[in-house]
């Protein structure tokens, strides 16, 4: 990719910034060739990767190097886009929101600094991936389980800071963060919570410390660069039971949510319960053309046929309970009785005890895997996909209402409907997966219009997304409209106070510093 300079930076000034960065990290870790820019582009970009181009990447190896780079970025007015491992697939990968921003790749900072088996937590740097932490726990034979996202190629901290979700009792990943160290936009270094006191051993244990609590101010945020954090882990359970129901009809999702959510809220069910529609399983069975060879959406009659042929329900509930066997058994009876009120067919049950085999692809047991990403082969080509992810209250009424709306809009665009709901407590995360061929220009245009329509119509109904791709960070922030967008105004006041040059991740999540506010709502249209 050719060089796109940051706003108001001349080629000479840009080169001076690169030379200065190289003085900190060494020239090999300043990556500013055309090939390097391609490497940091959005691999699943809906359109040209030059819409959100990085000008370069710089990879520090320590907190001190991060601080030095941030100070130099201020001096050279060269904005930085921090990424942990740069695997935010479907949301922009490692690419920056503002064209010409330099990616600050923290992948080399990959130390596991602490693993405490007694108090069940770890302290990690941003470059530590889910696989790295899993392997470390295995080698240490530590009785601890992780929570992992569907595709676990990325960073533990990066995913938590982006509000990623998993499917265990620790599935709200941002909530597992406790005690953060961050480099502020002026190069200062802060530790949150109890860590604000030197050598306090409760830094990563107590989340509600003295004074304002800032941990999550660094999540989906451009207020600093997180350089380490505590992450709570799940003590390995004495046993676990998976209970699986196939749910026949699309509208059944209403009673399913009304059955499971109260049990989740009461604490009887402690995991995040993932409920994918049939297509979530079909995508792993082959490619779309094996089942429907036309570009139009798979019609309902064919869906019915496929469900019969492959013995699938429209939805599947694969619920997992964890703990002492007697407790798990008792909980299972309550859950089964509740489900039986609407579904006569009994579930399949799979017990697990320590020492038993754990399948390599079981996100409900915290096993990291990239295999779920195989869905990217459904359409073929370069495997592009985007998730439209609104959050709704966990009641059947809200879920059915949300589903009917999305389903109609998606059908109107003649696109396959592939939804999941994850019940995380009083809410459900609804992910509508849109898979497309990014080398088919007409299809990309259609998907973008569809995405716009989903955001607008969903907001009209009063629901919002919790996470989105670079291209929609401004439109989604726009939907948070209370009191003339007070949240955005507050965010930008704080941003401008902490980061007068606007050098940390300008535009992230629609928060623009004054220095680059003219880029709001714009991208490099190519």
């Amino acid at each position: 990719m050719k060089l796109h300079l940051p706003p108001r930076v001349s080629p000479k000034q840009f080169q001076a910034a690169m030379t200065a960065f190289a003085g900190v990290v060494g020239k090999d870790w300043v990556m500013d060739s055309d090939a390097d820019r391609d490497a940091y582009s959005d691999t699943y970009a809906p359109g040209s990767t030059e819409e959100w181009p990085a000008s370069a990447a710089v990879a520090p190896a320590s907190v001190d190097e991060v601080r030095a780079i941030v100070r130099l970025a201020n001096e050279h007015k060269t904005p930085l886009w921090p990424v942990a491992r740069g695997k935010n697939l479907g949301y922009g990968t490692a690419a920056p929101r503002l064209p010409g921003t330099v990616v600050l790749d923290l992948g080399r900072m990959n130390k596991i600094l602490e693993l405490d088996t007694k108090l069940a937590y770890c302290v990690v740097e941003p470059g530590v991936g889910f696989f790295d932490l899993y392997e470390h726990i295995q080698r240490e034979k530590a009785p601890l389980w992780m929570s992992v996202p569907g595709n676990a190629w990325g960073s533990v901290l990066g995913n938590a800071l982006e509000h990623g979700i998993g499917y265990t009792p620790y599935g709200l990943h941002a909530r597992n963060l406790c005690g953060i160290e961050a480099v502020l936009p002026d190069g200062d270094l802060v530790r949150t919570g109890m860590g604000a006191m030197s050598n306090n051993p409760a830094w990563h244990l107590f989340p509600m410390s003295y004074g304002p609590t800032f941990d999550l101010a660094f999540s989906q945020s451009n207020l600093g660069v997180v350089t380490k954090a505590g992450v709570w882990l799940q003590p390995a359970p004495e046993s676990s039971l998976e209970i699986v129901w196939d749910i026949p009809k699309v509208e059944d999702i209403g009673w399913v949510v009304d059955t499971i959510a109260p049990l989740k809220i009461s604490g009887l069910i402690d995991q995040n319960v993932f409920i994918p529609s049939w297509l979530g399983k079909m995508v792993l069975k082959g490619q779309r053309r094996d089942f429907w060879d036309k570009p139009s959406a798979i019609p309902e009659w064919r869906v019915e046929e496929l469900l019969k042929e492959h013995k699938l329900g429209y939805w599947q509930v694969a619920l997992r309970l964890y703990g002492e066997e007697s407790v798990v058994k008792a909980k299972a009876e309550v859950v089964k009785a509740a489900m039986k009120r609407n579904l006569a067919a009994g579930p399949a049950e799979h017990w697990w005890h320590p020492g038993d085999y754990i399948h390599g692809v079981d996100t409900t047991m915290g096993i990291p895997s990239a295999v779920p990403l195989q869905m990217s082969d459904w359409i073929g080509g370069r495997g592009a996909h985007m998730g439209f992810s609104p959050v709704v209250p966990a009641t059947g009424k809200h879920v059915l209402d949300q589903m009917a709306r999305s389903r109609k809009i998606i059908a109107d665009f003649d696109v396959d409907f592939y939804a999941s709901f994850t019940i995380g407590g009083r809410f459900a995360n609804n992910v509508n997966m849109l898979m497309y061929d990014r080398d088919n220009a007409a299809e990309v245009v259609k998907m973008r219009k569809l995405f716009d329509a989903l955001i607008t119509e969903t907001a009209k109904a009063g629901y919002a997304e919790y996470r989105t791709h670079l291209g929609w960070m401004d439109p989604v922030m726009e939907t948070f409209d209370f009191n003339n967008h007070a949240l955005r105004r507050f965010g930008e006041k704080v941003k401008n106070a902490l980061d007068p040059n606007g050098i940390i991740a300008p535009g992230k999540q629609g928060i623009w510093p004054a220095a680059y506010a003219d880029a709001r709502g714009r991208s490099n249209k190519v």
Binding site: D28, W29, M31, D36, D38, A39, Y40, T43, A57, A59, G86, L89, T93, A94, D105, G107, R108, G129, F131, Y134, E135, Q138, W153, E242, V244, D246, P276, G280, K281, M282, L284, K285, H310, Q316, A318, A348, H350, G355, D356, Y357, I358, H359, G360, V361, D362, T363, T364, I367, P368, S369, A370, V371, P372, L373, Q374, D377, G380, G381, R382, G383
Partner: protein, 136 residues
């Protein structure tokens, strides 16, 4: 992911079925290889002459060891092309050249995203390309 959906995952290809299908019995031992990669070699990642096999397993093992996502997709492709399923593992391929490996790693291919120099340095890539590039 539920066991039921795992069976569906397993239906992908011949070898994938054998590798992924949940065995009925008790523990067959440690976790699958792609979840227990070797420890990354210590030292300067920019220095040439590293162990290509170890570096391949460390940096590409997320997807390209037994049971990994890349192996599953490649197994299917290899079988469809009339080759034996074991060719789904890159380490078993004899038709790859070092240059081809370098290009695919840096440019990406199909569902595989491109890899940065932080993912794999040029020196590490050279060692991996030498290890996998059995066709020269």
């Amino acid at each position: 992911m539920s066991r039921a959906s795992l069976v569906l995952v397993a239906a992908l290809g011949l070898v994938a079925t054998a590798v992924l299908a949940a065995p009925p019995g008790p523990p067959p031992g440690p976790p699958p290889p792609y979840q227990m990669r070797p420890v990354a070699p210590a030292g300067d990642r920019l220095k040439p002459g590293g162990d290509g096999k170890v570096l391949f397993e460390v940096h590409c093992g997320y997807c390209h060891l037994t049971g990994g996502m890349g192996t599953n997709l490649l197994t299917k492709q290899q079988v469809m092309a009339g080759n034996t399923p074991d060719k789904g593992l890159l380490a078993n391929r004899t038709d790859l050249t070092a240059d081809y490996v370098r290009t695919v790693v840096r440019m990406g291919k199909g569902a595989m995203p491109q890899q940065t120099k932080v993912d794999l340095t040029d020196a590490e890539l050279d060692a991996v390309a030498k290890y996998l590039g059995k066709a020269g």
